[in-house]
Amino acid sequence: MKAMIFILSLVLCCLNPLTAQDFEYPLKDITKVLIGSKNSVMVKSHDQATLLIKELENEKNKTPKKAAGLKPIFQEGEDNTTYGVEIKKENTELIVTSLLNRRAAPFVLYLPAGIDLYVESLTTSDITINGFTSEVEVKNFKGEIILTNLTGPIVAENDKGNILVTFSSLNQSSPTSIVTVSGDIDIALPKDVQANIVSKIPTGEFYTDFDLNQTVERNPRTNARTVKGTLNNGGVELFIQNFNGNVYLRKLK
């Protein structure tokens, strides 16, 4: 009998991955994924060439059992993933729209590390992105933007919120630009990073533990509070503008 139970549980364990309700979508021919969400969104990388929504991390957003046989109706699109998320392919781009309200639990999804991203959340929600080696574009309105373990180029914009970025290295192919109206911009870079820093801080301050070799301008603009300089002999442009807050540029510990 014990052996039977053991074998039965073994079989059940083996079956489990097959019955898991994860949503997976192959990304063949897709070069860029555009994500729009009212609820907070977390984008993580994995080593598969797919978009993956794990049930475990999105359980609360899944269509409830009570709604079995019923179809959820959303104003902004059709839920074709069972997670309140619509995905739509347009040429080489995949448009992913979370149809849930801004108070819903965070939408967590996995994408290949090399795919270009555009992530937008024009509400009070947070955007968290971790582990990409591709170009990342982010636009938020009032929530946080937290970008970790990226290589850039990054083009990030916030309105009333912080932007926190940790670079694992800095892609030298094209510029990175980080802009917010109020909040902190806090950037950590490897200590040997090569970059040309241009930072505009009309009403804030610029703090760093890097040895910034400041560029002396011939005709500095009056009243324009700009910090310009090179890190480790210079490299790609890293533009940082924070209208009503400080900029912190740190060595990655």
Binding site: E137, V155, S173, Q194, T203, G234
Partner: protein, 263 residues
């Protein structure tokens, strides 16, 4: 698809980012056109080089070749290419792609494969228009910023490029691109269409970062036409106080007139 169109798509074709139908059209044209094939082979070689190219440690040969090309071009075209072009070389694959496009369209001259007339500025303006189309209209915001920064290196530019810059400054989806475009336009501020565009934008601009950037640019240009808009912003209750403070630090109170600043 004609040969000119095909050559425009070559960079994207080699990178494999074209849509299926466009890709097939490019392939069909490549099959029947020898000069396109030649252009394709050259670009392929260049781009293969670029893929191996380490921005931090440029190979001396590559840098030298492109530097030579650019120097030659500079002499031929009365300094149209900027003196700063050397700095550009430190770069960066897409910038090298810009060089590749130069090579493609001016390339015949340098490689003796085609016969573009010397000092033909009209032709060169066409090339720059191509550049604007290829890079300024890129789907990538970072590449658009790069293209905008690149226009700053040019000593003069044509109306078409200016219009693209103005369009980016006014309408780009990313504030980051808009800010770069505004500061690039400041380099061409002697052009009346640029001044007018900056003034017009300030009159409708809602983003604080852009407002301050535009105000600073126009003050530097000693442009009095912005005063009505500034006064309006100062009198509006919904203008954030930090913007008002910023404006006051920029413009002498005598110009703003009146002492009823509601901060």
């Amino acid at each position: 698809m004609n040969c000119k169109e095909t050559q425009q798509f070559l960079v994207a074709y080699i990178e494999g980012t074209l849509e299926e139908t466009t890709r097939q059209a490019v392939e069909a044209n490549l099959e029947k056109c020898d000069s396109c094939q030649q252009a394709y082979r050259e670009l392929r070689i260049l781009m293969d080089h670029m893929d191996q190219y380490e921005p931090k440690l440029p190979t001396p040969d590559l840098e030298l070749n492109v530097a030579k090309m650019l120097q030659k071009e500079q002499k031929q075209l009365n300094g149209l290419a900027s003196k700063k072009s050397r700095n550009l070389l430190r770069s960066l694959k897409p910038l090298m792609q810009v060089a590749a496009i130069f090579v493609l369209f001016l390339g015949g001259y340098f490689y003796g494969l085609q016969h573009i007339p010397k000092s033909n500025k009209a032709e060169l303006n066409g090339v720059k228009a191509q550049l604007a189309e290829v890079l300024l209209e890129s789907r990538s915001a970072s590449k658009r910023i790069q293209a905008v920064n690149y226009t700053k290196e040019l000593e003069n530019t044509d109306v078409k490029t200016l219009k693209v810059l103005i369009d980016l400054m006014a309408h780009d989806k990313h504030i980051n691109v808009r800010l770069s475009a505004a500061s690039a336009l400041a380099h061409f501020s002697e052009d009346e269409i640029v001044r007018e565009a900056l003034i017009a934008q300030l009159s409708v601009e809602e983003n604080p970062n852009m407002q301050v950037e535009l105000i600073q640019l126009l003050i530097d240009l000693k442009e009095d036409r912005i005063l009505p808009r500034i006064k309006e912003m100062m009198s509006r209750k919904d203008t954030p106080s930090f913007i008002k403070t910023q404006i006051q630090s920029q413009i002498p109170e005598s110009k703003l007139g009146g002492k009823t600043m509601d901060i």
